[in-house]
Structure formats: C-alpha cells, structure tokens
Symmetry: C2
Subunit: 358 residues, 2 copies
C-alpha cells in the first residue's frame, strides 16, 4: 500500500521537522535536500522513510541539531573533521566542501569525518563534485549488520562507496553501491512484502544460507558482496573493511562492531573506540590529470561505447546512475510514493513535534 505525495509537500514537511528539532534554516534545507534526493532517485530506504529515525536519535540525545563542525587536523590535501554529533546529512556536505576546496588548491582533497551520524545516500555527497568538474567520492561506515566471510557475528555496516565522474554531453557516471550483496533497504522491501530473499543475501545466526528476510531479527546477518567465499565474499568483506578504516580509523570515529546503531532503541557501546560514526569524502579535479574538456570528451566516448555493448537478448547494458536518473525524472513530475507504514510514521512525527500533518 502506497500513497503519492508531491515533492514540494514532502520537502516542506521535512524542513519543518528539522526546524522543530532545532536545526537552523540553512541546515534544515540541506538535510531535507539530501533526504528527498534519495526518494527522488528511488532509494526509498534512505529518504524520508528515515526521518522518524533521525527524530528518535535526537530524542535520545544522540544528535546535536546545532553542531559546531570543525577541522581538527589537516594538510594541504587532507583534513579530519569533527562533526560534533551533528546530522550526517549536514556534516557530510560540509566535509565535501572542504575536500573540494582543497582540490581547488592542490588537485585533490580527502576528508575523514568523526563524531557524525547517518549521512543519507552516499551518492548525494559524491555528486556535489560534478558541478565543480571534479570526481567525487563518498563512503561511510554504518550500524554493524554484516558478517565477514566465515563469521557468524555482525562486524561491519553495509558501508557504501559512491563515485561520481563528470561528462560533457552524456549524463554523469554515478555509482553508489553498498559493499554487500544487497543493501539493507532491499531487504526491508522484502520484509514488508513477506517475500523470500535469494540465497547469498543473508545468513542465519549459525552462518547458514537463508532466504528469510526477517533473519536479522534473529541474530542473522547481511552478507558481503559476493555472498559466499566461492563467489568472492572475501572481496566484499575487504571493500567494506576499507570503507570502515578510511571512515573511522583515519578520523577517530567508532569502527567495526563499535559503530553506533541507527536505531535509537539499541544501546551505544559502553567502551567506544572513537567518537560517533565516520565518513570519508574525496574530490579530484579532473584537470589535475588532463585538460577538463579532453577528459569529458573521453568520458562521453566511454559511456556511449559501454551503452552500445552487445547484450543478452531482451536486455541492455546500463551505465551506473542510469536507473536512478530515470526514476528521478519520473518522480520529479509525478510525485513520490510512500509506503503506508512510512506515512504512519510521519503522522506520529507531526503529532510529536506539533507540526501540520502531511
């Protein structure tokens, strides 16, 4: 069951929510932009569906709505940013701006962030670089839900990697991928429908392959990209680990199983190894490698060649970012469908914060 809302209506409601918990006008606008971008691009699990989660974290005192975000360590091409327990939705774009300013100066900029919270879709932050003719990168660690190869314990988040690459006539290349077989959001969709998951997405408490999308509630785990050892899950595990280390060991955030949970009813670690959640943002000026126009012409050629790849009958080869862009064009016009449970959540948010109902 779904209900469709106009983008403007959702935007207004979300801004009012962030204002109500104490965000500044600018921060409320930015956080809303990041959240709504997820809904527009069809990544429903990371959009307004999470708004209630942020509100609950704020209620639990785990989010500072008016953070003093500051650089605590830097070199010409790097920085560590302390997010002061702010919303990742606003900390990450600020860190990305620092990365891009450094890239302006010395070619590239790399910023590791500590003391932050969930930052929405990684793709939003990576795509910020496109307007400045830079390659953008964004990663984050997250609530531990993923079992390394051969493990029964959940040690890593779905730790996404996003990379955006500028083009000339073609739409940009935008990859945004969880380092697991399937993102948690995909599983949530199956949970709502009570459908089975394919083998390779999840395992049960003892580490056996499972098709039950509710397995995580019973001590099960998501699996790293690859699914099992024979299909390369050690590679997904390695990629998720790299994201964890760049995001949290570089910065001094909590890593691995110590990463703070997104859901406010789970306790924080009693022996944290750092502060809050970590992110890693990067920007590389394309003209730090070759003239920007030349680079972008070749990217256009790369994309048109890959788009014309000989395909399996009835299929076509897509470029990373194609599906999300198609959905965005539709939803921008037709509005955003919300699951009825999400609508109920938003009603309870409105009631709690004394906002006008959606």
């Amino acid at each position: 069951m779904e209900e469709i809302f106009s983008v403007d209506k959702l935007r207004e409601f979300t801004i009012n929510t962030f204002l109500a918990i104490g965000c500044s006008e600018a921060d409320a606008g930015l956080a809303t932009d990041v959240l709504i971008k997820a809904d527009l691009r069809g990544i429903d699990s990371h959009g307004i569906a999470r708004l209630i989660g942020y509100v609950r974290l704020w209620e639990a005192g785990r989010i500072n709505p008016a953070p003093k975000i500051k650089v605590v360590h830097e070199t010409p091409s790097t920085a560590v940013v302390d997010g002061d327990s702010g919303l990742g939705l606003i900390v990450a774009p600020q860190a990305m701006n620092i990365a891009m300013d450094k890239a302006d100066q010395v070619g590239t900029g790399w910023v590791s962030v500590k003391n932050s919270n969930h930052f929405g879709i990684a793709g939003y932050h990576a795509m910020m670089a496109l307007e400045r003719d830079m390659v953008g990168m964004a990663m984050t660690n997250a609530s531990p839900l993923v079992a390394p190869t051969f493990a029964t314990e959940r040690m890593l988040g779905t730790n996404p990697i996003a990379v955006s690459i500028p083009t000339k006539e073609q739409p940009p290349f935008v990859a945004d991928l969880a380092t697991t077989t399937a993102a948690n959001g995909k599983l949530e969709i199956l949970q709502r429908k009570d459908s089975e998951a394919p083998y390779g997405w999840i395992q049960d408490k003892a580490g056996n392959p499972s098709k039950d999308p509710h397995e995580l509630k019973n001590g099960g785990a998501l699996l790293p990209l690859g699914g099992d050892r024979e299909h390369g899950s050690h590679k997904g595990y390695a990629l998720g680990s790299i994201v964890d280390i760049f995001s949290a060991v570089f910065s001094g955030a909590n890593y691995g199983p110590w990463a703070p949970p997104f859901v406010s009813f789970l306790p924080l670690s009693e022996n944290p190894v750092g502060e809050g959640l970590g992110h890693f943002l990067g920007a590389m000026r394309i003209d730090a490698f070759r003239p920007a126009d030349e680079f972008k012409s070749h990217m256009d050629n790369w994309i048109s060649r890959f788009r014309s790849t000989e395909a399996i009958k009835g299929k076509k080869v897509l470029i990373p970012g194609d599906p999300e862009r198609e959905i965005e064009a539709i939803r921008q016009n037709d509005g955003i469908p919300l699951n009825i449970n999400v609508v109920e959540d938003l009603k309870s948010v409105a009631k709690k914060l004394k906002l006008e109902q959606l």
Copy 2:
C-alpha cells in the same frame, strides 16, 4: 604436475631474462622483484608464469625495455605519467614513488599512468607505501575479458584494486582483489585440471551461466564480482569501470574494450583511444589524518577484534593479506612450485634468449 625451485634460482633466471631483452640492471632487478613477489604470495598466475608473455610482447615490439618514463602533467597532489611503452612492472613502482613523494609534500599523492603494460600484482605497488607509513592504493585496467551485467561482449579487464594499510604490532592489512567473481588466474588453474567452475564465475557466448572453464576461448566471458544481477554483479561492473576510468581516462590510456591484450598473438586495436594500458596509484600519509602512532594502534585493535570474530564452526575469520603472508613464509623457505607447463615455457625462453637453463 609441479616442480619446486628455490627463490634464488628463479630470481636469477628472471633477472637474466629481463637483462637479455635489454632492461638495465636496476630495471631487471625491480621487474624480477615484482614477479617473484606474486609467486611468493601464492598468486601463481601473475608471477614467473607470465615471464614468457612479457618476452613475447617484447618480440612483438610492444614493450620498450629501456623506457624514458616521465611526468606529463601535474599538480601538488597529482601527476600523469607516460610509461613510454615500458614494462608495467617497472613503470608502476616509479609512478608509486612519485605518488609517495607528493604525499610527503601535501598529504596525499595520486598518479594515473598511460602507455604502460601489465604491471604484475597490484598488491606489490600498494605495499610499497607501508614502509613510509602511508596507505597505498594500486589499480590497473587490463585485457578485456569481462562482460558487464546483461552483456554478451567483453568490455573490461579483471581490473584489480589493492589497498595496503600500515599497522604497529599486527601484520599490515593488504587487500588485493580483482573486481570479478574470480580472477583469471583461478580459471587458469581449473583449465589445467579440467575441473568445473562454480556458476557465477563465467558465462558462455550468449550470456548463459556456464561451468566450463574453457568458455573464454569460445567467446564467453568472466563475470563481475556478484556474478549476476540478483547477487550484485552491477556493483562489480561499476567497480571495474571506476578502475578503468581512473587508470585510463584520467591518464589518456586505452580504456574498456580498447585496452591492449596481454597475449601478443591478439592484434592491438586499429583505432586506439589512448596510449597503451593504464594504472592508478595512490598514497596517503597516515599522519595527514592523525598521529601515525595513534592510527597504527587503532589498526592493531581493528585487526585483533576482527580476527576474534565469532566464526562458523570449523572456520576462522581472516584479515585481508593473511593467506598470502602465510604462503610467503612457507615458500620463502621451501621454494616455489611451478606447474610443468610453466617450466616448459621457461625452457623455451632460455633457448630463445640463449640463457642458462633453469
């Protein structure tokens, strides 16, 4: 069938081979070091087994044994290097040195390379950074053998990503992974044994799943990490694409299906889009983010915590780099086993170049 050789003996033979094709003493030593490191670490497909391939490329005039490697574009944190058709085995370490020197100056260094050839194991180049308390990264594009999701055409190489991360007491974190379900070397092992491959590694000419390790000879393809769309092959395809773009579009090398083949009997593209093969090397000083000792202590903690992850009965959770290091310790002492076909290849190399037989 295998024969075991001492490391010293293989090293001597390899140095003499590189000297015989016109490399300088220093270059022959370095190229040998890179190749033998692969054998030591158990990545047999990328070690001395490839020596005959390099010799054939030299015979075909595709490798310049005395290249003038130079920086053709740079900023404080980036450079593009022209490998002058040299062996990737020597071009990549030189590019990595440039990256590390830049990191010394401004915190990080990023070098994209054109006009190069196969560079051996990515891990070698990434690991160079460890001695300088830097995180090292190495990527390369390669002969097109991989079909993107839904494709029947081979558009990408196995495009590896290697990342090495310094530690204090613990051995370093070293990930070195092809962005395919299985590296080509794994397939070669099955070919020699005439064993079946698991589903998810390869497809036939029409794009159907296949277990036949000889499928590539009949127009089949390797599959991106994930194996199929349902298990996230679009993520492996995106990762392989990013490696291709950073290695070749940044630098001006050949990308995608234009990447030059490793085997000398396949023709080069008649309409190249760049020069030779491309690599991408990166170095990040750990103290560009936080004090080196603090970073390394937390890496030790990261590793010991992950090593103690609760595991499936009879299994244990490994840290990226563990298996290769264990093999290296054994082979350093006991010698390196070579497949009998490889030994035959080396005999023909010796005969051709008038070297003492192995």
